[in-house]
């Protein structure tokens, strides 16, 4: 048996070096093969990167490892023991913890309660010994270099801090293996550096990390080994240093990608379509003024908490503003609700796709038509034929991958979900698009398509306000950039003078 295992080893090491062995896992869903004969061998104490487009099977694998799904065939070994009939609790007890993108924390409880949830009392005592509990929580956090008041409620924590609580929770189970699903998706660069330090600390403690990410820079920065997933298969696994960035991208998308970003032709912008004067929102935004020109992509850069989302929500009428005037095409307008904004041909693509962008249980068709349901109705009655025609056209225009327009959103990948969000606004034909993190959590291929779409929109005379946490992308796509810090504009740059570090300095308030 040992000999056979040796034959299966792709990297020529002996099997006993591996903490986790995933052998020939296959998982089928109706209509799709999510995982097709996947094998991975992960060494003790290494940081193992997994990259792949959305729908490549990364999340399915995670869920199988955590016992959420059951694999159709194949085996999983942890420390030489085969894992069968996994449930999340068994997985944790075996020393495997997963940190999901949407954290599994109870926001109304304290940090220490969250870390020791389910195991609040030690040695089967009836009452909880809070002193011991809090002390142990503090120790766990200190072991990864964090000092926090463990009595604080989780709801008061930042995303980065919540992540640390999740890591501490994993450590409290004596985790040997921690899986992180896109841990950087909502972190600022500074927070990311801290996370990397924590990961290094964990590595020194001989804890194995599986790091799933879309961001290749991160993979190169910290992962020892990287596996590339495409269409449910592992296309390549080797030492990260042996890969080039272009090679990874090519293998991920299965074709050659010349550029990460499409070229943007410079146009002179003169016609002003939107002007915001002295906008203020209670405790969030102070006296912000800016303008948007016809055909322009205006990038807004700022850390989480800089007020960027609040700013655009207020412009759109979704949140209340204390003061400030908004001019559309030179005319002062009062926008008190999203209806007002939509009537003035403004669209808002929210950063939270699932919660605020989509009817996740409804079909693609019903989502696309949602913005124009009145327009496609005659004397109240919906023209369902027209509804289907419009949806089909949008699906082919935006190359949305789906079985039919009747498919529910739930079964689409992140990139395709985002395309539906775009489609539902496109059909309503707005002039001003506000896009809050339109590329968050979607893969390289879909990102490129969205950039191209943004370009073609501006060529048709539409204007775009573009918010993103990924500075690189804002720099590459925008004609002009304003930097927000602490609810104020802290710098404005034209395309020519755009420089990465300069903008970053302004974003952190210098």
């Amino acid at each position: 048996m040992a000999k056979l295992d040796n034959l299966l080893t792709p990297r020529g090491d002996t099997m006993c070096d591996y903490l986790l062995k995933i052998q020939n896992i296959t998982k089928k869903f109706p209509g799709v093969v999510a995982l097709d004969d996947v094998s991975l061998y992960i060494k003790k104490g290494e940081i193992f990167g997994i990259v792949g487009e959305n729908g490549a099977g990364k999340s399915t694998l995670m869920k199988i490892l955590y016992g959420v799904y059951k694999n159709d065939s194949g085996q999983i070994f942890l420390d030489g023991k085969e894992l069968k009939n996994l449930t999340p609790l068994i997985a944790q007890k075996m020393g495997m913890s997963i940190i999901f993108q949407e954290f599994n924390l109870l926001s109304t409880l304290s940090i220490s309660e969250n870390i020791f949830v389910n195991r609040l009392s030690f040695k089967n005592r009836i009452f909880v010994n809070w002193n011991v509990l809090n002390k142990r929580a503090e120790e766990l956090l200190e072991s990864i270099g964090y000092t926090m008041d463990v009595k604080r409620l989780v709801s008061s924590l930042s995303v980065a801090e919540k992540q640390m609580v999740e890591i501490a929770k994993a450590l409290s189970f004596n985790a040997k293996l921690i899986l992180m699903d896109e841990p950087s998706a909502t972190l600022t660069n500074k927070e990311l550096d801290k996370l990397f330090k924590v990961i290094e600390t964990l590595k020194k403690q001989k804890i194995t990390i599986i790091y799933i990410s879309h961001k290749l820079d991160e993979i190169f920065q910290i992962c020892d080994t990287t596996a590339i997933f495409r269409d449910g298969k592992v296309v390549d696994t080797k030492k990260t240093s042996l890969f080039t960035k272009n090679e990874i991208i090519q293998k991920m998308v299965g074709r050659t990608v010349e550029n990460e970003y499409p070229a943007r032709t410079k146009i002179n912008f003169d016609e002003e379509v939107l002007r915001v004067n002295n906008l203020a929102i209670k405790n969030k935004i102070n006296d912000i003024s800016f303008s948007l020109k016809k055909g322009e992509i205006l990038g807004i850069v700022g850390l989480v908490g800089s007020g960027r989302t609040e700013l655009v929500r207020a412009i759109f009428g979704a949140d209340k503003k204390i003061s400030g005037d908004i001019f559309i095409n030179g005319i002062k307008r009062s926008i008190k609700s999203p209806q007002d904004a939509i009537n003035l041909k403004i669209a808002l693509l929210t950063e939270d796709r699932r919660g605020q962008g989509l009817f996740i249980n409804y079909s693609i068709e019903k989502n696309i038509s949602s913005t124009i349901i009145k327009k496609i109705s005659k004397r109240m009655f919906i023209n369902t034929k027209l509804e289907t025609i419009i949806a089909k056209k949008a699906i082919s225009d935006l190359k949305i991958k789906c079985t039919s327009e009747k498919q529910t959103m739930l079964n689409l990948s992140g990139g395709n979900q985002q395309k539906v969000v775009l489609a539902k606004w496109l059909v309503s034909e707005p002039d001003i698009f506000i896009m809050d993190e339109p590329t968050r959590g979607i893969d390289v291929g879909a990102k490129y398509e969205i950039y191209v779409l943004m370009n073609s929109l501006t060529e048709k005379g539409k204007s775009i306000i573009f918010i993103s946490s990924e500075i690189q992308e804002v720099l590459a796509i925008s004609d002009r950039i304003i930097v927000l810090y602490g609810g104020k504009i802290n710098g404005e740059f034209q395309r020519e003078e755009i420089e990465n570090d300069k903008i970053m300095k302004h974003a952190i308030g210098q």
Partner: protein, 324 residues
């Protein structure tokens, strides 16, 4: 591949919409075996007559539930509007008595909806608030009647609502069926109906695409109030008299029928076809229990268990469908 998937999707939809219909057919078959008097024309019309009151309540409440809220105030709204319709007749005549009752029913909905939207209430809030309203209206009904029943109307056309027949079909059944058809067309075919679905599925998303969420929420409550008033007419016309507690438990029976019929409690799901199937299932069960001779207390036990079971099935169904 594409066609195959479409067929699969289609079969799945059929399966989901028709499981409860199948359950209804099985129930009818069972009841006919248990008692020979079950499957007679007279008994079937009887079932319809019995369910028309609760059915109207359930139709209105379905709008509220599809819209993502609850309306537990309907039981006492039926009592109050029934009392008003009967006791105002000698003073203002049949037409105005009914008109005023209908306005009262709609106004109760307006108040419910306004309170809930003004505090941006959640589904849970709406449950508690309308529950409070249930108590308030019950009390009003008791105050107006001083706790006594109101003797019936001697107006023939009013009594016709509850007891009259058109051909062989009782008028109350026609009223229920016609309301159901109009409401079903409204909610599934019109833009307003679709907006109610969008609101129920995710009111934040609905708000951000410019749907007047508050307006539609209030509308669903007003429709629920109106249908409770219609139920009040049928009830008081049939028994020819109004009692301050005549509507007690109707909200419970309506919720049971809706959940049994398969309308998801989370909102944004199901149609009135589900409601009608649920209403008929509950009607057949009550009728069968009456025929077999099960006491009304024991019947309540059965109905309560059915509600609990139906909610469990509803939740499980969602669990299986999963969050992907």
């Amino acid at each position: 591949m594409n066609i195959k998937n479409n067929i699969k999707l289609y079969l799945n939809t059929i399966y989901r919409s028709y499981t409860m219909l199948l359950a209804l057919i099985i129930l009818i078959a069972l009841a006919s075996i248990l008692s020979h008097s079950f499957l007679t024309v007279q008994n079937i019309t009887n079932i319809f007559r019995q369910v028309s009151v609760m059915g109207c309540v359930a139709l209105g409440m379905s709008f509220v539930i599809i819209g993502g809220s609850f309306d537990m105030s309907v039981g006492s709204t039926v009592s109050l509007t029934g009392i008003l319709a009967i006791s105002l007749q000698p003073i203002v005549g049949v037409f105005w008595a009914m008109a005023i009752s209908l306005i009262v029913g709609v106004s109760i909905g307006l108040i419910n909806g306004t309170i809930i939207t003004s505090i941006n209430g959640t589904q849970g809030d709406s449950f508690i608030i309308t529950f409070g309203m249930l108590t308030v209206i019950q009390a009003v009904a008791l105050i107006i009647t001083k706790g006594f029943s109101v003797p019936g109307s001697n107006n023939k056309s009013y009594i016709f609502i509850g007891n009259g027949d058109i051909g062989v079909i009782p008028f109350s059944i026609i009223l229920f069926v016609v309301s159901a058809i109009i409401m079903q067309i409204f909610i599934t075919k019109t833009s307003h109906g679709r907006n109610i679905y969008y609101m129920g599925a995710n009111s934040e998303v609905a708000k951000l695409i410019g749907i007047k969420v508050k307006f539609y929420k209030i509308i669903t409550y007003m429709i629920s109030g109106a249908m409770a008033a219609v139920a009040g007419f049928i009830l008081t016309a049939r028994v020819n008299g109004a009692a301050p507690k005549a509507g007690v438990n109707l909200e419970f029976e309506a919720v049971t029928a809706i959940v049994v019929g398969g309308i998801g409690l989370k909102g944004g799901e199901g149609t009135l076809v589900n409601t009608i199937i649920g209403v008929l299932i509950m009607g057949v069960i009550s009728n069968a229990m009456n025929i077999i001779g099960i006491s009304s207390q024991n019947q309540l036990v059965v109905k309560g268990i059915i509600l609990i079971a139906a909610v469990c099935v509803d939740i499980r169904k969602k669990g299986i469908m999963g969050e992907g």
